[in-house]
Symmetry: C2
Subunit: 136 residues, 2 copies
DNA sequence: GTAGCTGCAAACTCTTTGCAACTCT
DNA sequence: AGAGTTGCAAAGAGTTTGCAGCTAC
């Protein structure tokens, strides 16, 4: 069984090596937002010939192809996720947990703001940083 | 003449050394979003005894005190600006130029989104990435 | 066959830190 | 006087890269 992302790599003309297949599988199955180190650790469990240099190179490639999104949540390193659907993130300042959300009003607003400034919107990021409301 | 930011440093109990005064002056006069290296270069012109280690240490301190905002515009390094007023950024993908903007509707929306997810909003960032609309 | 991919290790960039000397308050 | 601050250089973290060998197509 090939993953959707694997098909897109083939379309882009990438050779499907064993290491890439493993890295794509890890990304495909990740429900979180793994760091390069995370991807490397998970990939090694499936195939310990994978090196961290290949993980870096593969993630850079996937980022260029827009198959993956690179995040910098002010942590000093990058985290990645498969570019399935468009959404944003709320980072829990107490636990580091990342909550995903979408909001139609926001999508409309951001295009409007960019146009008012004289720009065509190409990309954007919204990150909310918050603390869980305590139940009384 | 003391800058506003210098007064706030005094309130926070920081010693006002010559190096700090120069770094604060550089930040106070910056109308852009300088990197650490930028701040260092500008400070050195005013007082070449300033070291880059002090620039790093000072900017970290100012960030903790919320007198300054640290940005990571997906460039692999940090950029800073004085925390005068709350606003967001549109980054021109062709020139790297950074345009600042504010939007009341957005402010309302972000609080609403956080609450719907069960969070109190502490901080947030919105970055738009776009290309200038060409005049015909 | 060959262009592209890999692991390894070295190199690179950005940032932090230990230390002895110095300086605001 | 003394705690805080500094420059320097070394170390640390994350990431990139040159190279020789390997592999998908």
């Amino acid at each position: 069984m090939t993953t959707n992302i694997e098909e897109k790599c083939a379309e882009a003309g990438l050779k499907m090596t064993g290491q890439r297949r493993v890295i794509l599988k890890v990304l495909d199955e990740a429900s979180d937002h793994p760091s390069v180190e995370d991807v490397y650790e998970r990939a090694k469990k499936l195939d310990d010939s994978v090196s961290i240099a290949t993980v870096y190179r593969t993630l850079s490639l996937l980022d260029e192809l827009d198959l993956v999104i690179r995040h910098e949540f002010q942590e000093g390193y990058s985290r990645y996720e498969v570019n399935w659907d468009h959404h944003h993130h709320l980072i829990d300042l107490e636990t580091g947990e990342v909550v995903e959300f979408q909001n139609a009003e926001l999508e409309r607003l951001k295009v409007k703001i960019a146009h008012e400034l004289g720009y065509d919107l190409v990309d954007h990021r919204l990150e909310l940083y918050g603390k869980k409301i305590k139940k009384k």
